[in-house]
Amino acid sequence: MNWQVACSGYDVLAKRIIPCLDVTNGRVVKGTNFVELKDAGDPVEIARRYNEEGADELTFLDITASSDNRDLILHIIEAVASEVFIPLTVGGGVRVVADIQRLLNAGADKVSINTSAVNNPQLVKDASDRYGNQCIVVAIDAKRRGDHWEVFTHGGRTATGLDAIEWAKKMEAFGAGELLLTSMDRDGTKSGFDLELTRAISDAVDIPIIASGGVGTLQHLVDGVKQGRADAVLAASIFHFSEHAIEDAKRYMKRHGIEVRL
């Protein structure tokens, strides 16, 4: 045994950078508020590139509106899982336990549940009991309402009346292994995470928090971790259409004292 080797240094769990790929009809798209979607490329190709650039995980969000093309995401996940060996999360349109089973069978490691968690919180409990909390991510879309934040569903269109902090605690109790927290106020604005919201939720629960919504600069990622106390940061647009963005982001975070996997 040489415990001393490690004890003399200081190991820290790395903060994660997670690129998010919005997928519809078999393609990655990029757009704001689900309008004027621009084609950003082939999901398998983009996943491969992000993996090579050092992404810590990948998140796929299926934004396909009709159910006709739902199976496309399964084929994409199968293809990605055959050659990219980092954790894969898939969200979008998950309604019943069978949806989760299908995604896991295709090669997803975690499944993200949003609207269905609000409609049927028992789904989170059942899924967590059955597959383990490590693969259940609850996505929370929150919007500021005076001195608190309200949970929204259906891509931010439907108000629920739920308080985001109370909802986060409830989902932790129901077996969520992780929370993906998106500020609806900041999403698409490139003005940075809602740090107050991120910190409030991160302090309220013991499970990891992924911050999302509003990233426009590399400094925003640093702020999300340092001020928002996020365990992971998720972003889409700053990583699409650019060269070596993830590696640059990690080096930037490292220079600012954040432990990352390089």
Partner: protein, 228 residues
Amino acid sequence: MSVDIAVIDYGMANLRSVSKAIEHVAPAASVAVTSDPAVIAAAGRVVFPGQGAAPDCMREIDARGLRQVIIDAAHSKPFLGICMGLQVLFEHSEEGDADCLGILPGTVQRFPHEAMHDEAGDKLKVPHMGWNNVHQASAHPLWAGIEEGARFYFVHSYFVQPDSPEVIAGFSHYPFPFTCAVAAGNMFAVQFHPEKSGDAGLMLLGNFVTWNPGARESACDMSGAACA
């Protein structure tokens, strides 16, 4: 016909990731994801993955009549435990107060709430989720080509505490040192997920599929009282 590598399926794990990663490092090998004791018994190598909670895992193992074939495989052929497949090798888990397989002496404990903060006093989350450094406590063929301190992907809330320090093959910190890999004879088992740990993980799996533990190094020789 017997398969080269059996991945034990007891209904508790996302086995797709494990089998895909093994097929990637051993394209010529026949890989079976199976709950058939006969297939496992006849396989050249056995991978024992797992997720979920310890009591459920033990119940599912017994429901499928797999307890004895797992114990036999752990003592007789190259055997790789992953995540819950490490934890249930021990005698008892704090998770749901579950009696486990007892192949290795020791217990499984939860990250204690009062200890979960870093040097600055900031809260550390549980599950321990993400990429952490793995220190190689002993030289082992499965570490070949993997840098000391390389990061692997973890996701777990419980960790193993072996009675015999000799079986500790690797450790990590969160925030205190905990055992993340054990080795005993033909058995190697890890808390992290090599199938999700990029190049370092594929290297470990590649080392496993070509590993030929010496006949003299049986699990009993290495783990002392474990096989009495």
